[in-house]
Amino acid sequence: MVKFGDDISENLHQQVFSFSHQLLKQSFNGINNVHPGYNSVLVTFDKNIYRDAALAKIQQFWNEFPEQKQEKYNTVEIPVLYGAKYGPDLDRVCEYTGLSSGAVIKRHTAVNYLVYFIGFSPGFPYIGGMDETLATPRLDTPRKQVPLGSVGVANNQTGIYPIESPGGWNLIGRTPLPIFDINDPENSLVNIGDKLHFRSISKDEFDRMKGK
């Protein structure tokens, strides 16, 4: 585990992004997996690699790691159809925050978010930057099946469900675009380090984009 700091910040994220990106590009023999987090990168090795050799490799990579190197940030727009059956918990978020649905959508679409890393389950983006006035606790009982592309809020986080899965987030809308491609996951729509924003779309636009 390589630790860059103890809190969550864009500065630490840049180091995590750059370190994990460079390490994955090197693809040393013997590395099994690289897990970026908010302020750390976990690297796991094949069982045939000696512990000392693994540590030495990471130490050497760290020493040569160009800390100043700025990774390229992509900007991604996520179109979202808010409310109704696509966002069945929008009312719950309104109730909890005391905001109108228009205000929730306005605040959710007003921000530039940062994708800190992809983790937890396949393609799931950890997105930071949500307007804290939208914070709403998770559902008491998680749904057994959340539709693909659902956009949700849980406490002070917002997220997108990249595959159909169980989940306890408040669903406020849905995107027609696939954010994760299991057959070509390195070229998914949403990646670590992306600057992301949501745009409110109509049912017609949703159907048109979905149909494509």
Binding site: N32, H35, N48, R51, I118, G119, F120, S121, P122, S188
Partner: protein, 309 residues
């Protein structure tokens, strides 16, 4: 040629040694829960290292061979018969077209492996054949096998000599050896002694994703949440309730619970054999000892490769 599933077991899945290299995209490796036993099975039928077999959990099903096939069963011993005649474990055998292998309940640990010469052939997903059941990815249609499925067998030219095993293979799973975890210092001496001096029961809600344990509660002195970070295979997490969870082959790639310990590499195969109701105890070993045990296990597998039939 292939295998028809006449009746599926409780959870039969196609497994190889895992899909490494995609944790940064949220995809954990998956792979055989007891990779050691799958490797033994592959050696018995002369497959090279990473061929896929069928992982059978707790209770097996009925499997009909649509051509003459060379097969072996490995892992925990289950009741098994071929057309009514008892079928041995850890021995490669020819089965004929239309013969039916029935695998009943386990007599020991949680899993056995059905290895076939040539390997089970399913389309590769990201260069691997393992099923990630929780995410519905890979293997045969991303799921456990069902009645009516037919599996193909792979290339019979990509095989080698079969081996015979002369020693008794048994995986004892009551003692699980561990190293310190990333947050081992979040737990004081008292917590550590209750963690290693008490026994834990394997809970019913365990899966390939995680083994849930019940027993003495373990409490961290620094709370139950960390800033989300990577989780390695075998990490023992302590969530708010204080009941340990061993992250297993289909684990979440990142998480926010403190990790008191990590199962050592050579004992991951034991974790794959844990079944609900089992009683286990954790035993701390040094990093050096863990490494020695890991290489001893590799040396043992290597030594088997010379026992040609």
């Amino acid at each position: 040629m292939g295998i028809s599933i006449l009746r599926a077991g409780l959870q039969d899945t196609v497994q190889d040694l895992g899909r490494n290299g995609y944790a940064h995209l949220g995809i954990s490796s998956s792979g055989a829960a007891d990779a050691f036993s799958l490797r033994i099975g592959n050696l018995l039928v002369g497959n090279y290292g990473n061929a896929a077999g069928i992982e059978v959990t707790l209770v097996g099903g009925k499997y009909k061979f649509t051509a003459d096939t060379f097969i072996a069963l490995s892992g925990s011993e289950f009741q098994a018969d071929l057309n009514g005649v008892s079928f041995p474990f850890h021995r490669g055998k020819y089965v004929q077209k239309d013969e039916i292998l029935t695998i009943g309940p386990t007599q020991n640990g949680a899993r056995c492996y059905l290895a076939v010469r040539g390997g089970i052939d399913v389309p590769d997903l990201l260069s691997a054949k393992t099923t990630h059941v929780v995410s519905g990815l890979g293997g045969y249609k991303g799921r456990s096998l069902q009645k009516g499925d037919t599996l193909s067998i792979g290339n019979l030219e990509e095989v080698t000599q079969v081996i015979v095993i002369k020693v008794k293979l048994e995986i004892k799973r009551n003692i699980i050896r561990i190293n310190n975890g990333l947050q081992s210092k979040w737990f004081d001496g008292n917590s550590w002694s209750s963690f290693t001096n008490n026994t834990y029961f394997v809970s019913e809600s365990s899966s390939r994703m995680g083994i849930r344990l019940s027993g003495e509660s373990i409490n961290s002195t620094r709370g139950h949440e960390i800033i989300t970070e990577g989780i390695p295979l075998g990490a023992i997490q302590i969530p708010g309730g204080g009941q340990p969870i061993i992250s297993f082959v289909e684990h979440q790639t990142t998480g926010g619970y403190p990790k008191i310990a990590n199962v050592i590499n050579s004992d991951l195969c034991k974790v794959g054999q844990l079944k609900p109701g089992d009683q286990i105890q954790f035993q701390s070993v040094s990093l050096e000892e863990a490494e020695t045990l890991k290489f001893e296990q590799e040396a043992f597998i290597k030594s088997l490769k010379n026992n040609h039939a």
